[in-house]
């Protein structure tokens, strides 16, 4: 039915495409609507500075959501990403600033730790949910070791990035988010590695029969999640100007919501980088909108919860109509 409608309009898309892209497209519409409402209430956001201001807190969330998207594309869920990103900020704000060599080693070690976690999940058939949950205690503890109280300072080059103004009055956060998303999209959708990730999520037996190694693939996927987590932590350090392991524990679940809004599935096999970006920006912009509406900050979580339900309900209705 949906393809019939599209044919009528004149498009001729691959069969699965509409089903895959529709949820992300609907989320994109929600995102644009929220942005328009924000712009109507406060026209000053339509400038490079204004957009930078409202978008910069979302960058780290968007990249962390990419990490969660990669995780969900192989059929796993990461319940430790919030504390992992927090831990990275503490490393960036101390080690990387004072002794860059050691800092880089620490960051590489974190990525390696993620890959090892992937090996544990695969070799011992441990549910990813609980393995990453256990790891989240470790991230929290390590972060507290590095910085018992929030503090430290971002390295100078990060400060430069924070005040960077790209030409053509494009807001810097948008550039960062789009580049990160494009890279993730390329790796997950246009490389052999991405095909392996997705087949690990949708049909591991097929992956094995085609000569791929389940353990190596899962380790590579977890390593990718680790790299994206590190990038998210670096951008977050630029945003908050220091390190704090408890900065964003909420990311853990918000990123899952972002991926779902973007059209991802818990069963794996689906990598939706651009949809996830739309999902993350929608969730991030909600906070801006609620602040602009002068809503008590206590009520903000409730409105966020209702809007997540509303968007997904809207998707259900649209899917029923197009079927």
């Amino acid at each position: 039915m949906s393809t019939a409608i599209l044919d009528h309009v004149g498009f001729n898309l691959p069969k699965g495409y509409a089903r895959r892209a529709l949820p992300g497209f609907l989320t994109l519409i929600a995102m644009v609507l929220i942005l328009l409402v924000c712009g109507t209430i406060q026209p000053r956001i339509w400038s490079q500075n204004g957009l930078t201001l409202i978008m910069s807190p979302i960058v780290a969330l968007a990249i962390a959501s990419m990490a969660q998207m990669v995780m969900m594309s192989i059929g796993d869920i990461d319940l430790g990403i919030g504390f992992f990103v927090g831990m990275i900020t503490t490393i960036v704000a101390t080690l990387l600033r004072e002794t860059p060599m050691l800092g880089v080693l620490a960051l590489a070690g974190s990525v390696l730790a993620y890959a090892l976690l992937g090996a544990l999940v695969q070799l011992r058939s441990v549910p990813s949910l609980i393995a990453t949950l256990g790891a989240s205690f470790v991230w929290l503890g390590l972060g507290l070791f590095v910085l018992p109280v929030p503090g430290g300072a971002a390295p100078d080059w990060l400060f430069k990035y924070a005040f960077w103004k790209p030409p053509l009055s494009i807001p810097a956060p948008v550039v960062t988010m789009v580049v990160a998303t494009a890279l993730t999209w390329f790796v997950t959708r246009r490389t052999g590695l991405g095909v392996k990730f997705r087949s690990l999520g949708s049909n591991p037996v097929a992956l094995m029969r085609s000569g791929g190694s389940l353990v190596v693939t899962r380790m590579l996927a977890y390593g990718t999640v680790g790299i994206l987590g590190v990038l998210s932590g670096i951008t977050l350090t630029a945003e908050i100007g220091g390190g704090d392991v408890n900065a964003v524990p909420g990311y853990t679940l918000t990123t899952v919501a972002a991926v779902i809004l973007g059209g991802g599935m818990f069963t794996g096999g689906r990598a939706v980088a651009w949809g996830t970006l739309a999902g993350a920006v929608t969730l991030g912009l909600l906070t801006v909108l609620l602040t602009l509406l002068n809503l008590s900050s206590n009520l903000q979580p409730a409105v966020q919860g209702f809007i997540v339900i509303a968007v997904l309900a809207g998707r259900l209705v649209v899917e029923r109509m197009t079927r």
Binding site: L120, Q122, F137, G141, V205, F266, N298, F306, L312
Partner: protein, 337 residues
């Protein structure tokens, strides 16, 4: 050897073994035995057990089912119980109110899961956001303290055995019996093992989902109310209970993929976690070190106790072992999300 492994030890063994090891270590470190450590553990553990039992029921209802709203519902239950108890002067009404709040919050999850078809983790996340907003609003200028009668009951420990722990223990046995002996229990577990097969066999999917999530919500809110009466209500009272409840349930031997519920294991897991906190406090580890060790222990228990055998039988069954598992589980998950 293989035969022994197949008949195998009960799934809750590992959690109790871990708890006993920690207990022995505690005795060795403190240099004296005595029931005080155990009494303390049994005073604190029941709250985690109550939340854990709810989480266990939810997880047993099949892959993808999880309740991430327990932490916020816990805090909200505490605040509501104390507030209502303070206004009406009756702690019974306070507890009743917390049960009501738990039901209301869980209903949001249930409606989202069944009618909006949102995956449970996102649905309960939305519920958790709503509960947290209500808690924050309630907590503004909150005053009120727990009823002294209830408070003294919760810390009452005749002969070193906390009375409240006995109550929760009886409740655990009740849950265990319901799962083993009643039709509903078998239906729920069958539903968790193979959703579609169970539905063809006449199991009511909606009813199962409704009951497990409502139970989880009520237990979380009630545990929160009791915990708040034991110490003091607080918006952040429940925060630790989300990760801990999931961890103790899985350490206790309940399968995350559903279909096997181990109520006894929840006790083992909870005692393990609480004794471990006590031990680490005793030897003066910082909060940071405690978390690192806790994390590594969870991973270690997973490594030892998880599904795949360590001395693998894969030699006889070539590598398709792991793949087949996931393959079989796949259609079930698909129908859920």
């Amino acid at each position: 050897m293989i035969k022994l492994r197949n008949h195998s030890i009960p799934p809750w063994t590992w959690s109790f073994l871990a708890a006993v090891i920690v207990l022995v270590l505690t005795y060795m470190v403190s240099g004296r035995g005595g029931s005080q450590t155990i009494t303390l553990a049994f005073t604190v553990a029941p709250y985690l057990v109550l939340v854990g039992l709810g989480q266990m029921l939810v997880m047993s209802a099949g892959p993808g089912n999880i309740d991430v709203s327990v932490a916020k519902v816990f805090s909200l239950g505490g605040l509501v119980a104390i507030a209502v108890g303070d206004v009406t002067g009756s702690w019974v009404l306070g507890l009743g109110a917390s049960v009501g709040v738990g039901l209301a919050m869980a209903s949001i999850s249930v409606v989202s899961i069944l009618y909006v078809r949102i995956p449970p983790i996102v649905a309960t996340l939305a519920t958790s956001l709503i509960a947290s907003a209500i808690s924050l609003t309630l907590a503004k200028g909150f005053q009120g303290s727990a009823d002294p009668v209830l408070k003294s009951f919760l810390s009452w420990a005749p002969f070193g055995i906390p009375a409240f722990a006995i109550v929760v223990l009886l409740f655990t046995i009740l849950v265990s019996l319901i799962l083993k002996k009643t039709t509903w229990g078998s239906q729920m577990l069958a539903f968790g093992q193979a959703r579609r097969a169970a539905e063809y066999a006449g199991v009511n999917a909606k009813e199962t989902i409704v009951i497990v999530y409502l139970t989880s919500g009520v237990l979380a809110a009630l545990a929160g109310a009791l915990r708040a009466s034991f110490s003091a209500p607080n918006v952040e009272l429940g925060n630790d209970y989300l990760l801990d409840s999931i961890a103790v349930v899985v350490i206790g031997g309940t399968l995350m993929s559903g279909g096997r519920a181990v109520p006894a294991g929840v006790w083992g897991g909870a005692l393990f976690f609480i004794l471990l906190d006590g031990l680490l406090n005793l030897i003066g580890w910082s909060y940071a070190g405690q978390n690192v060790l806790k994390g590594f222990l969870v991973l270690a228990v997973l490594f030892l106790a998880s599904g795949a055998p360590i001395l693998s039988r894969r030699v006889s069954q070539p590598t398709t072992d792991a793949g087949n598992d996931e393959d079989e589980a796949e259609p079930e998950i698909k129908s859920l999300s």
